[in-house]
Amino acid sequence: MANPRATARNPTVRPDSRRARPAPERGVPAESLDRLIHERIRLGIVSALAANDSLVFNDLKHLLATTAGNLSVHARKLEEAGYVACDKTFEGRLPKTTFRLTPAGRRALARYLDHMEALIRAARRG
């Protein structure tokens, strides 16, 4: 079944699945790696949010040493995939954007870590 969230602009987006996936092993096809998380800034966003209930935009920007534009683009991709939830509020007159990791995002990170560990095991055998 086609991914309903995947678009021409965002072909890497894959829906989270609750089905248990076998741990990737040697010779794992490339598509089993979640490329949405694999990108450096997005991996940083998901990792940082996994360690916090939520983080505001500026904290994430400083933490990942990236620009506001870059962070916005990558956070939006994660939001479109359902991995990250975004709340926009005002603090006085200043807009405040807060991100948090969704259960789907947490599962995606866990799968990604499983994949990395499996790759290490496979590399040891190779």
């Binding site: 990737p24 794992v28 096809p29 490339a30 790696l33 450096r40 991996l43 940083g44 990792s47 940082a48 949010l49 996994a50 360690a51 916090n52 983080l55 505001v56 500026n58 904290d59 400083h62 933490l63 990942l64 040493a65 870590l113 990395m116 790759l119 290490i120 496979a122 590399a123 040891r124 055998r125 190779g126």
Partner: protein
């Protein structure tokens, strides 16, 4: 990576290990304040040992206090330089998120320590000061350490234990307790923090 079949297993492994390190460091930086500089603590430990030796040779309480206050100024300067250097090197934000909550937690017990120092010194009760300083420094580190790595909390509790000992030990042992705390404990935990938490 797996998408490139030309990569050797060693290359894949080193890439994956680097990826996992990035995840761990990002989670660590986001989840706990680790900008406390272990290296700076080691330097402070050395200056504190010198201060303890110098203070023990002072003829009266006022001069003894002056030595330790001078050491406090030196220690704050070293700690500030160390924290700024580490936060810059490891890209840890000092005035945002978790770290913004760290500083008030640390500052309150230190403020109490300063107030008690003035009150006790003006009454000539210098003997009590080593225990008070060690206890309140420990309290500050435990409070600030609630948002930090476990090593920092362990250091705080060690100071509390030492402070309790100093409070009830003979007054002549005051400088030895201060040397053990601000010299020994800071240096030992400083080495551990530097090794496990990036400097």
């Amino acid at each position: 990576m797996p998408e490139d079949p030309a990569r050797s297993p060693q290359q894949v492994r080193s890439h994956v290990v680097e990826n996992l390190r990035f995840i761990r460091e990002t989670m660590e930086a986001a989840g706990a304040f680790t900008a406390m500089s272990g290296r700076a603590q080691v330097v402070i430990g050395a200056t504190a040992l010198g201060a303890a030796l110098l203070a023990s040779r002072q003829p009266d309480g006022v001069r003894w206090l002056a030595v330790w206050l001078a050491e406090a100024v030196v220690a704050v300067a070293i700690a500030t330089a160390g924290i700024l250097e580490k936060s810059r090197r490891r890209r840890l934000p000092l005035l945002s998120g978790v770290s913004r909550r760290f500083w008030p937690s640390l500052a309150a017990p230190l403020f109490v320590g300063a107030a008690l120092t003035v009150a006790l010194a003006t009454r000539g009760q210098f003997d009590v000061l080593p225990g008070v300083w060690l206890l309140l420094f420990g309290a500050a580190i435990v409070a600030g350490g609630a948002l930090s790595v476990p090593l920092v909390r362990a250091m705080g509790w060690s100071f509390l234990a030492l402070g309790l000992g100093a409070l009830f030990a003979p007054p002549a042992w005051g400088d030895a307790f201060l040397a053990g705390g601000f010299g020994g404990l800071l240096a030992v935990f400083g080495v551990a923090i530097a090794r496990r938490h990036g400097g």
